[in-house]
């Protein structure tokens, strides 16, 4: 039915299966849209946020997806600036994932603010000293870059590519892609960093506050965030690629590409986590104590012992050093189980880091006579957070079906003569099922 739109030399499932899965995901999307409308029409009383928890699930989701979407800028940086040619085989997907993550972040921000219709005040009445302003500007600009990077991909669809103008545009944009990639890397450096600064500048919140470089400009979490996004973003790109491969039931990217990206990630994570450890130690023994806080105050005696030292151990050791080593050692990263483990841990690690720096900051009592604040999101918050996940899956499904995202797919999966359409459809359908059920927990923190 839609075979004319499907890229040359690759096979796709039947239209029926495709639509069926589209509608299932679409239902989840609609649920999210319903929650979104509730929040817009009735206001933020639909959430479980309160005056102590002004930032909650949504802001965490924003920070997390931006970090995970960091794969786009960093892969682009490696591909176009550093010149790692192999990465051209994964850059398309990295861009798509980045596009989804960044559009998701903007959507969530649009729900999160109390006056969405005044959202543009952040640009118009900008306070340049606010980390959020920096985030808003760089994030929006970088989103434009992502769109620009995504456009050639769309235009490479078999039908649009036939149009000479589009074909030429694609070609010309590829020619100058390095400029966009460089600009993207520049912008990402700042907004990733500014997100790190969001809690780092809060000198009223000893849990989040960090010393500043040169005493005033940026807190050290600025650099840690950029670094961790560059380190863990590619892991998320690999993870989503691997999941897509599992679902599609075929190899889409060659091992050497994954291997290279994984190796770089490994070293990035290692250097990041060493820096993070140093930061944590300095904060725990110098910064926080100077305001009367010892580490135990942050990690003990809270209701249900939710916030314990286990967080530090999980974030730094289990989700930091462990994946770093798994990815650095060649033998380990080439063992599929360990590679999978490492990328999943890295993704959890960076998400946990963002969680801690948003929610624990607000949970810790600062006034000595107040208690810990405990928060659990409302269904509306959860639904609106899942909404972009569903949207992401849909966009990936559609893009994968109609666009030549994986340049190596045809080579890795040569079409045998006279394929049976029924057989083709079946594994695809099953694979879709795995994607929605098994794939969701991993995708959720990422694209939410």
């Amino acid at each position: 039915m839609d075979s004319a739109l499907i890229p040359n030399g690759v096979k796709r499932c039947s239209m029926g299966k495709f639509l069926l899965w589209n509608s299932i995901i679409g239902l989840v999307l609609l649920w999210g849209v319903f929650a979104l409308l509730l929040c817009w029409i009735k206001g933020l009383n639909q959430t479980n946020m309160n005056n102590a928890y002004g930032f909650a699930l949504w802001i965490w989701a924003d920070l997390a997806v931006i970090a995970l979407g960091g794969g786009a800028f960093f892969t682009g940086f490696l591909r176009y600036i550093v010149g790692k040619e192999e990465l051209k085989n994964i850059i398309n997907y990295a861009v798509l994932i980045g596009f989804i993550c960044y559009s998701a972040a903007q959507l969530i921000l649009g729900i999160d603010i109390g006056q969405p219709l005044r959202g543009w005040f952040i640009f118009w009445h900008a306070n340049i000293h606010s980390m959020l302003t920096e985030v808003a500007f760089c994030l929006s600009c970088y989103f434009i870059v992502l769109c620009i990077e995504y456009i050639p991909l769309i235009l490479e669809n078999r039908q649009t590519d036939k149009v000479p103008f589009f074909h030429n545009l694609t070609h010309n944009m590829h020619e100058v892609m390095a400029i966009f990639a460089a600009t993207g890397a520049f912008l990402s450096f700042f907004h990733q960093g500014s997100l790190g600064g969001v809690s780092g500048v809060l000198f009223g919140r000893p849990f989040g506050f960090r010393e500043h470089i040169f005493g005033t400009i940026w807190p050290y979490t600025f650099f840690l965030f950029t670094w961790s996004a560059a380190a863990c973003g590619p892991c998320f790109t690999i993870l989503v690629t691997k999941i897509t491969e599992k679902i599609a039931g075929k190899k889409l990217v060659k091992d050497n590409v994954i291997d290279l990206l994984a190796k770089i990630s490994g070293w990035m994570i290692l250097t990041y986590i060493i820096a993070k450890t140093a930061d944590t130690l300095y904060w725990a023994f110098v910064t926080a104590p100077s305001t009367g806080f010892i580490l135990a105050k942050f990690y003990t005696e809270n209701p249900g012992s939710v916030y314990g030292y286990w967080i530090l151990f999980l974030e730094i050791v289990i989700c930091g050093f462990v994946p770093a080593l798994f990815l650095i050692v060649k033998k380990w990263r080439r063992t599929p189980v360990l590679l999978w483990t490492a990328i999943i841990l890295a993704v959890i690690g960076v998400s946990l880091n963002r969680w801690v720096l948003v929610l624990q900051v607000l949970a810790v009592p600062v006034m000595p006579f107040t208690d810990w604040n405990i928060y659990f999101p409302s269904w509306q918050e959860i639904a609106t957070t899942i909404l972009p996940v569903a949207y992401g899956i849909l966009l990936i499904m559609i893009s994968y079906r109609y666009l030549p995202i994986f340049p190596q797919e045809a080579e890795l999966n040569p079409i045998e003569p006279e394929p049976e359409p029924e057989q083709e459809a079946k594994p695809e359908g099953k694979a879709e099922e795995i994607k929605t059920k098994a794939g969701e927990p991993e995708l959720k923190p990422a694209e939410a």
Partner: protein, 265 residues
């Protein structure tokens, strides 16, 4: 022409006198058109600019002691002029620090509700309008035209009754004066407090009562020279303009965080 000196309006709350009655809270609500809802028992959803906290020495009966702790906005000055925790983070300049008065303002029509300032404020002085404000039919008559009613989705907080300052200045201007008398500008809570526990005035003016009690050391970010006077969470460097006076040591200690090794000495 003589230059008008910068003011630094601040407050001293005498915790020895404060009885925790809550009149300051209602005085503030009534003055500032604060909305109310059917269920106000979730204090984290409640809009209140002034909140009276209750603290105890955590000792068992009969050695228990209780102290009430009224908490308006601290109008922090920060370590350098105007670098209060909230003002520095607001992305849309919806809150600002006035160096002329030392008051941290909040522009409701500018605020787009990101709540970053709430995350920044360690005093929970900022509250968000989670709900549309609703006055039951007829009750809107009690609204004061001096203060605009806030819409849902924006952050609000104590303004030190800034509109009263404006009114007083207008009057002074008509009288041909540039400076206000101490009693011309007082906040609603100060005026109402039945115990007279609140003293309000200009911390830069050595003749003002508030200066005499607080004895701020402007060379050290306003730290009080009065041993009985302290500020809440002073160590964070917020440099608040609300001072507290208590003759009880445990109360003064509960005003800030101390490491175990500091409490020993």
């Amino acid at each position: 022409m003589e230059q008008v000196k910068d003011k630094k309006f601040g407050m001293v709350i005498d915790l020895d006198k404060c009885t925790g009655c809550g009149s300051c809270m209602v005085a503030c609500m009534s003055e500032n058109n604060v909305p109310f809802r059917e269920d106000e028992t979730d204090k984290l959803l409640s809009v209140a600019w002034m909140r009276v906290y209750k603290m105890t020495n955590r000792k068992p009966y009969p050695d228990t002691e209780v102290c009430y702790f009224p908490r308006p906005c601290m109008h922090c000055e920060g370590q350098h002029s105007g670098h209060s925790p909230c003002v520095s983070v607001c992305p849309a300049v919806a809150t600002d620090y006035s160096t002329a008065t030392g008051i941290v303002s909040q522009i409701y029509t500018r605020c787009f509700g990101c709540r970053y300032c709430m995350a920044a404020c360690p005093y929970h002085a900022r509250v968000f309008n989670w709900f549309d404000p609703v006055w039951p039919h007829g009750m809107e008559k009690s609204l004061s035209p001096d203060v605009s009613v806030r819409m849902r989705g924006v952050v609000e907080k104590c303004s030190f009754c800034y509109h009263r300052y404006q009114k007083a200045m207008e009057k002074a201007y008509v009288d041909g004066r540039k400076e206000l008398e101490e009693n011309e500008y007082q906040t609603s809570c100060t005026q109402a407090c039945p115990a007279g526990a609140i003293t309000f005035g200009d911390l830069n003016n050595t003749h003002h009562e508030v200066y005499k009690i607080a004895q701020p050391d402007h060379k050290h970010h306003g730290k009080s020279k009065n041993p009985k006077v302290f500020r809440l969470l002073e160590r964070l460097g917020t440099n608040p303009k609300v001072y507290y006076l208590s003759s009880r040591k445990w109360v003064r200690q509960l005003g800030d965080n101390y490491r175990p090794d500091e409490i020993m000495k």
